[in-house]
């Protein structure tokens, strides 16, 4: 299955300039256009090349450990009132779906003859994945991380350093993921000849949104087949958390053509969208331009980016990938907010019913599923089957969750 992860499929594509309807495109300094064109060409050539696809497939299988399992969570299902199938991306090497994207982009980096990768990271998961791929492919690696995030995700900072990466704490602006992304862009403008900017989500200027989607869309291809094998049919709904949105696009993509399968993206509602303290760009934002693409953005009346808030550093981003903006516009996918408290309740429920500690990002998808299940059951008149993308594991979030639940011993 994973050897064919890049085989062309029908489905929504951006136009040749990277537009998904009114979203996407390139809003970048001219200095980056040549590099984006080079990347676009390298990516298109690579995915049409059997040997590249075979190499990527072999890495996914032998190194990343995919296909990841589709696990029927029976005790969780009983509490929720739906047949819940978990796509276990948390079992991948490095602990999240993100390894698929970095392996793909690291292979491209080699093909382009570049020797250095830079990345931005919020929770640290993408930084760890990038540092991992850089070690594997012998690439120099610099990871930009908001200073606030280096503090709340100290464990992942240590991981990146162990893997040989340089972690640069960013002290500009809100000192979170958005500012790390600005800093990475600046580095890229200055060092574009030898450097590939390994963007961690399906956002940014064309071709990143489409390329990242293609590298992670094996999640959905696998889940679709696994669901058919397990249940004899397609699920009623597929759910995922949405920050930048790569795990959600990855699992949605294979189902976009299956009109009967509902797609739900759950955004970080923080303290509640009406409080203004949230990271729900589609639910609580408006169309604008941020980080090289037109999409939904949290912004004020003057177009200044607003600070986002989420208990999950990985979802704490004031924008979203442009393909999600388009899926929202066309009504093919639904986007709903989940608060910090709802996410943490679902986090605890999965821990206690299944013995699985999810990433807090993924707990947003679980919480959304808990809320969705009774509505869907009432509408369908039967127990629905829901595939949830368990995009990552919770090791990195143990400190945050321990704090939230008040179960950390204060004495050291």
């Amino acid at each position: 299955m994973s050897a064919d992860a890049l085989a062309p499929v029908a489905g929504p594509q951006p136009d040749s300039a990277g537009h998904f309807g009114r979203f996407g495109g390139r809003f970048v300094p001219e200095a980056l256009v040549a590099a984006l064109d080079e990347l676009d060409g390298a990516w298109r050539t690579a995915i049409a090349d059997e040997s590249f696809r075979a190499e990527f497939g072999a890495l996914l299988r032998d190194y990343a450990g995919t296909p990841s399992l589709l696990y029927e969570a029976r005790r969780f299902s009983a509490k929720v009132g739906a047949r819940v199938l978990l796509k276990r991306e948390d079992l991948n090497h490095t602990g999240a779906h993100k390894v698929r994207n970095v392996l793909g982009q690291a292979l491209l980096t080699k093909r382009m003859g570049k020797t250095r990768v830079i990345a931005e990271t919020g929770a640290g998961q993408h930084g760890v994945a990038t540092a991992t791929a850089a070690a594997l492919f012998d690439l120099e690696c610099v990871v930009y991380m908001g200073q606030v995030d280096t503090e709340r995700q100290a464990l992942n900072v240590a991981r990146m350093r162990m893997l040989g990466a340089t972690v640069v704490p960013v002290t500009n602006g809100s000192r979170t993921l958005k500012d790390a992304m600005n800093e990475a862009m600046r580095d890229w403008v200055a060092n574009v000849d030898e450097t590939h900017y390994l963007i961690g989500t399906a956002a940014g200027p064309h071709p990143f949104p489409a390329m990242v989607r293609d590298f992670v869309r094996g999640i959905g291809d696998e889940a679709r087949q696994q669901c058919l094998d397990l249940t004899g049919g397609l699920p009623d709904a597929v759910t995922a958390c949405v920050g930048g949105g790569s795990n959600a696009l990855g699992i949605f993509h294979a189902f976009v053509g299956d009109e009967a399968v509902r797609l739900y993206g759950f955004e970080a509602g923080g303290d509640g969208v009406d409080t203004g303290r949230h990271a729900a760009s589609i639910t609580g934002g408006s169309a604008g331009v941020l980080h090289g693409t037109r999409t939904f953005v949290l912004q004020d009346a003057d177009g200044q980016t607003l600070e986002s808030h989420s208990i999950s550093a990985g979802l704490d981003y004031p924008g979203v990938g442009p393909e999600h903006a388009w899926l929202h516009d066309t009504g093919r996918a639904s986007y709903l907010p989940v608060t910090d408290d709802e996410a943490m309740a679902a986090f605890e429920l999965l821990c206690r019913t299944e013995g699985i500690i999810p990433a807090i990002e993924s707990a947003h998808a679980l919480a959304g599923t808990v809320a969705l299940a009774p509505k869907l059951a009432a509408e369908l008149g039967r127990e629905p089957t829901i595939v949830v993308n368990l995009s990552g594991r919770g090791d990195k979030d143990v400190h945050t969750a321990g704090d939230y639940f008040g179960i950390l011993d204060k004495e050291r």
Binding site: A17, G25, R26, F27, V28, P29, E30, A31, L32, V33, A34, A35, N172, G173, K178, N182, M185, R186, V189, A190, N191, V192, D193, G288, V289, L290, H291, G292, V297, Q299, A301, D302, G303, Q304, T305
Partner: protein
Amino acid sequence: MSRIGVAFDKARADGRALLVGCMPAGFPTVEGSIAAMTAMVDAGVDVIEVEIPYSDPVMDGPVIQRASDIALAGGVRTADTMRIIEAVAATGAPVVTMTYWNPVERYGVDVFARDLASAGGTGLITPDLIPDEADEWLAASDAHGLDRTFLVSPSSTDARLAMTVGHCRGFVYATAVMGVTGARARTSDAAPTLVSRARAVTDLPIGVGLGVGTGAQAGTVAGYADGVIVGSALVRCVLDAPTEAEGLAALRTLSAELAEGVRNPTR
């Protein structure tokens, strides 16, 4: 011909390059920025580039980002920028505006162009809007008679260079280095080549920015370009000064040095 074009022609007739000085609107305050820009004009800066502060200025280095953050924290709005442009234009110096695209789109592209023109602005420099995505701006700038300056870079291919300058009006902005704004120890080797590549495909004047901070560097750039664009070094005068008066004094001194530099090109 646009007012900028006239200014470039006049400088060319005098055998010198034009000096463009950049300052974020509303830094350190709305009134303070008007005072700073007026001081720059008095000390010999030919054209004032008013930058609309933006929360995520990816093309700017740390000095301009800090100044922009101060302006935004002080509550400056896009509408205030229009007022600042009006006040600076009243000095008689041509005023160009520089902004990232999202504030324009949020203000409303056509309304922005209308208000910019009526405030006396001559046009707009767009660091993150390339002609490929600029249909709305091309129409609005035509409708309101504004110049438009897109950037060309050392990494631009010949085809993109020709396409980009083909959409420019007023002048072309050549980015001297691969990188962000900020004064550097030495000027770029890539810039003269980029300017001559641009000259081969346009008659528009060419301004060079990024990395210029001293009179000597201004003289070097004036040796091959029609305009020398200075930002961070001027902003730093205000940023680093203990008092507003000392900031203005430092700004006048550096402006005069740069104005002297563009009159003494190193060829």
